[in-house]
């Protein structure tokens, strides 16, 4: 009973945040509602006994990605709202039906399979020690690959975002 109330609360917070993130006019409000959606998802992960992933979601998504998004909105002058301009792209009449179609397919598939209405078999323990052992034994290659990817992304983001020196700018203009 309590479980279901918490699930409904977290799920509605997440979905409300997501819908608000996609529908609001002011970009900063969108970014903050998206951060709220991420936090709601972290609560859902914690409810599903995935403690490490839930806390990592909070740390990375709310603590880093949301801040990155907010900084980008500030740097691209997204916070200056021009009244009267449309917020939707010219092809929005394609986007919304596609979203609705995907939703219909997914929900249809979920409802059509009775095996998905089950409850879990038993308690699940995913202590951090086991995750660490798995990362070092079975998943060590993906770990190294992700390390390489993060280094490349760090260097790439810095290189792309760097301001060009003055003389190069005057040459291209």
């Amino acid at each position: 009973m309590l479980n279901e109330i918490i699930f409904l609360l977290c799920a509605s917070l997440t979905l409300a945040g997501a819908v608000a993130a996609m529908m609001l006019r002011n970009l900063v409000h969108c970014a903050l509602c998206a951060a709220g959606a991420f936090a709601g998802l972290a609560a859902l992960y914690l409810q599903l006994d995935a403690q490490f992933v839930g806390l990592a979601q909070l740390l990375i998504y709310v603590g880093a990605i949301a801040i990155l998004i907010v900084f980008t909105i500030m740097l691209t002058r997204g916070d200056e709202v021009r009244p009267g301009a449309s917020i939707a792209s010219p092809l929005w009449w394609v986007g919304l039906p596609v979203g609705a179609l995907v939703l219909a397919c997914l929900v249809g598939a979920i409802m059509a399979s009775p095996s998905l209405l089950r409850l879990p078999a038993g308690a699940v323990h995913a202590p951090v020690r086991k995750i660490g052992e798995a990362l070092m034994n079975r998943y060590v290659m993906p770990l190294q690959a992700v390390g390489l990817l993060l280094t490349a992304a760090l260097l790439g983001a810095v290189a792309i975002g760097l301001r060009e020196p003055r003389d190069a700018e005057s040459k291209t203009q």
């Binding site: 992933v53 990375i60 990155l68 919304l96 993060l150």
Partner: protein
């Protein structure tokens, strides 16, 4: 745990479709990236739900996938936002319908 698996999957499906619709229907590049992040998060929720309710939860496969997915999403968002900033510096706009110099 008295909530069935289908509830979590429906939440994930709703989140995914909201992200998809928003990414396709909004004009600003940053909002498209937010929609992308929502889609990734929906997939992560799916993985965790199936891991929790599935038969071999002690093998931690779903958890591992989500850990790597979060790391990769962070990297992708960083590079994507750097690209948006770089484009803004050249074209003074972050609206996707104005970035059409390769059209036609």
């Amino acid at each position: 745990m008295t909530t069935p698996l289908a509830n979590y999957l429906i939440v994930a499906a709703l989140l995914f479709s909201v992200g998809l619709a928003g990414a396709l229907a909004r004009r600003n590049a940053v909002l498209v990236l937010i929609g992308l992040e929502l889609m990734l998060n929906a997939a992560n929720l799916n993985f965790i739900a199936f891991w929790r309710f599935g038969p071999h939860a002690e093998r931690l496969a779903g958890l591992m996938f989500v850990i790597f997915s979060i790391a990769v999403a962070a990297a992708e968002v960083a590079v994507g936002l750097a690209l948006v900033i770089a484009v803004y510096r050249h074209r003074r706009t972050a609206q996707l319908d104005r970035l059409d110099s390769l059209k036609g």
